[in-house]
């Protein structure tokens, strides 16, 4: 197995863990954590492809990863802001209980 | 300008820092176990019991000289309830010669005492006063901090030593009380004598 395949497998595993978490946990914050994990797995893919790709000097994959880190930080801030605001409305962060459209 | 105060403060601490090496009068602290400051007259730590020695300096008659009459007012008034008194069964004459109860047991738990001085203020017999002794540490947490009446008893001379002004006032008041009591007994005796003479006179008149 080439090193790249190893990295891709780990990234796939992390992505699946994140996906499983996002789909199975009740707490909204943990769903967000799962999404962060998925984003991170994608970053790992980008960096691995950059490292073993034909043109590492073009920095494309690395740049993608850096921008993705920045965007993920913004996503986390907004997502957690939403969770706090939902918690204020519904007094819970349990996603199973958030089944009403009424605010 | 913003930040000026900070610079001024920094200059002040720097002055203190260097000044403390040059001028000895800046250093207001003393090195405690070796050096001590004389206690202030108004200082108060924990209460003690005053006794009047018949011959000054004689510690043997502390029990006889205790001013306390076990009236238990201080025990009732004590906010943290740290005074334990047991009244004696018999009586003994006090300084005025009047037979009074005396404390068979008088304990103060100084681990509980909060030095409020209420016991001193309520005592009608000037028997309990505040001490200035503060080095009371002991390795026995419970027994060592429960002082009995022997440990609490201090002579009137000692009281004069630590709180001179206050003690003189107390002595004057006691002397006045004693004088008043003596005058009263004298007056009573005089009245009794006068009554006796008048009765005798009446008897004599009747007889005549």
């Amino acid at each position: 197995m080439t090193p790249l395949a190893g990295y891709l497998l780990v990234a796939a595993l992390l992505f699946s863990i994140g996906l499983a978490g996002a789909l199975t946990r009740r707490n909204a914050i943990l769903v967000l954590i799962g999404i962060e994990l998925m984003l991170n797995a994608a970053n790992l893919n980008l960096i691995a492809f950059w490292r073993y790709g034909p043109h590492p000097e073009a920095l494309t994959g690395m740049m993608f990863a850096i921008f993705s880190i920045a965007v993920a930080a913004a996503e986390a801030a907004v997502g957690l802001g939403l969770v706090i605001s939902i918690h204020r409305h519904a007094k819970t962060t349990d996603l199973d209980q958030m089944n009403r459209m009424k605010g | 300008m913003l930040g000026e105060g900070i610079l001024k403060g920094m200059a002040e601490t720097a002055r203190n820092f260097f000044g403390s090496y040059f001028s000895a009068d800046r250093m207001t602290t003393v090195e405690y176990p070796e050096q001590r400051i004389a206690p202030f007259e108004a200082a108060r730590v924990f209460p003690f019991l005053v006794y009047d020695a018949k011959n000054p300096g004689d510690a043997a008659d502390w029990e006889a000289g205790l001013r306390c009459v076990a009236c238990q007012i201080c025990e009732k008034e004590c906010p943290p309830k740290c005074i334990y008194i047991e009244k004696s069964t018999g009586k003994k004459p006090d300084a005025l010669g009047k037979p009074q109860f005396y404390p068979a047991r008088f304990d103060i738990d100084i681990s509980v005492c909060m030095s409020c001085q209420i016991c001193v203020e309520v005592c009608p017999f000037e028997a309990i006063k505040m001490d200035t002794e503060f080095e009371l540490s002991t390795d026995d947490r419970f027994g060592g901090l429960l002082l009995d009446r022997k440990q609490l008893a201090k002579s009137n001379e000692y009281y004069h030593q630590i709180h001179l002004t206050e003690a003189n006032g107390v002595d004057a008041r006691l002397a006045a009380e004693k004088a008043k009591a003596e005058a009263k007994t004298k007056a009573a005796a005089g009245a009794a004598a006068a009554k006796a003479t008048s009765i005798a006179a009446a008897a004599a008149g009747e007889g005549a």
């Binding site: 706090i84 918690h87 204020r88 007094k91 | 300008m1 913003l2 930040g3 900070i6 403060g9 920094m10 002040e12 601490t13 720097a14 203190n16 820092f17 000044g19 403390s20 090496y21 800046r26 250093m27 207001t28 602290t29 090195e31």
Partner: protein, 391 residues
């Protein structure tokens, strides 16, 4: 001879490593350097504690510790023995694993920063190309340690202290980063050795330290403020404000774990002072060109100790801030000044006339400082404050 004295520690390291087979020498050198860092800074910690207690004492017209050894010099040893032999109490309801990990993580994160600090000519553990970024990455991890300590103790005071500490550290980390970005702009590198080298030049005997420029001075002052807040030192010591929070996030720590927190605090102070020295005060370079014969590491450590003394001096002078004052100061005063400073540095970079740029840059900074300062002072909210909670 002088050259040798300057490099004596490097030579010593090479000599020690030369006893090993060639393949292991690189690792051995790294190990020796790391071991030296791990030994030197705790020793410096002991000295600094003694200095702090003595200095604070003198500032308050006391003698300070004077019982153990001459001038109380052995006091740190006595303190060390005490905290090593004390019982280590963990609260019954505490989260044991997290409670144990927090001080360890804090100390490790504090020590990691030294890896990229050049402590003398050729004296750097790893010369990373992104050294400054590495330093700040390690500094950011210590926040999590503080949170872990506060949360795992299951104590209101600990949690409050930790939340305060984390909020404060995050706010001031922005300032810390932005105030050092000007240096990166000028030096054109994130590598700390390159930053020092760019300052190690002399004109008429005076060094090219960044503090001797308008933007450098402003940056240094803001860096110092942020560094004080980042290490939770007075006047920004709200997280452990003993009059309100017992001891903040290390309330429930005793014995050796408490000593680790104490060590972590001082090591963080050393490393942040070392970084400030590197960024603004020329690192290991001598203050005058005729003093370059003194070994470089002596300069580094004397500058470090000088910064420590300023830390102590500030602690002896300033009262603690209130939480809202702390936040307002960071976000409404220091951060705008930082952003302005970035612009001033750019102006400095692209203005050719030597004297004119001095005047222009200083004028911009002073005017902004005065204007913003007056505005902040006038706006001072006096009266009942409103609090905001999430229910």
């Amino acid at each position: 001879m002088i050259q040798n004295l300057d490099q004596i520690l490097v030579l010593l390291q090479h000599w020690l490593a030369s006893f090993l087979p060639a393949a292991w020498q690189g690792a051995a050198r790294a190990f020796i350097s790391a071991a030296a860092i791990v030994c030197v800074f705790p020793a410096l910690f002991a000295v600094a504690v003694w200095l702090e207690r003595k200095g604070l004492g003198r500032m308050q017209n006391r003698l300070g510790p004077n019982r153990v050894g001459p001038y109380g010099l052995l006091q740190p040893i006595a303190d060390g023995i005490k905290s090593l032999t004390k019982e280590d109490i963990v609260p019954l309801s505490a989260d044991r694993a997290v409670h144990f990990l927090a001080p360890v993580l804090l100390v490790v994160a504090a020590f990691m920063g030294f890896a990229v600090l050049p402590m003398g000519r050729n004296m750097v553990l790893v010369d990373l190309d992104a050294g400054l970024l590495f330093y700040y990455a390690m500094g950011a991890s210590s926040e999590l340690a503080v949170f872990m300590a506060g949360w795992s103790s299951r104590n209101k005071y600990s949690l409050l202290g930790a939340m305060r500490a984390v909020a404060q550290m995050i706010s001031y980390e922005v300032v810390l980063l932005l105030s050092s970005v000007v240096v990166v702009m000028m030096a054109g590198s994130l590598s700390l050795t390159k930053i020092v080298e760019s300052q190690n030049q002399y004109t008429w005997g005076f060094p090219h330290w960044y503090i001797f420029t308008p933007w450098g001075l402003a940056g240094f002052i803001m860096y110092a403020i942020a560094a004080t807040a980042e290490t939770n030192r007075s006047p920004f010591d709200l997280p452990e404000g003993e009059s309100e929070l017992v001891a903040g996030y290390h309330t429930e720590y005793s014995g050796f774990k408490f000593a680790l927190f104490f060590l972590g605090e001082y090591v963080a102070m050393f490393s942040i002072s070392g970084l400030g020295t590197t960024l603004f005060l020329g690192g290991w370079s001598a203050p005058f060109s005729f003093l370059t014969w003194i070994p470089s590491w002596i300069w580094f450590f004397s500058k470090l100790m000088l910064s420590i003394f300023v830390f102590i001096w500030m602690r002896g002078t300033l009262p603690r801030l209130r939480q809202d004052q702390l936040m307002n100061f960071a976000w409404k005063f220091v951060l705008p000044m930082c952003l302005l400073n970035l612009m001033v540095a750019a102006v400095w970079r692209f203005m050719d006339n030597y004297w004119l740029r001095w005047v222009v840059c200083s004028a911009i900074l002073l005017l902004a400082y005065e204007g913003l300062g007056m505005a902040e002072l006038r706006k001072k909210n006096i009266g009942p404050r409103s609090y905001r909670y999430v229910e």
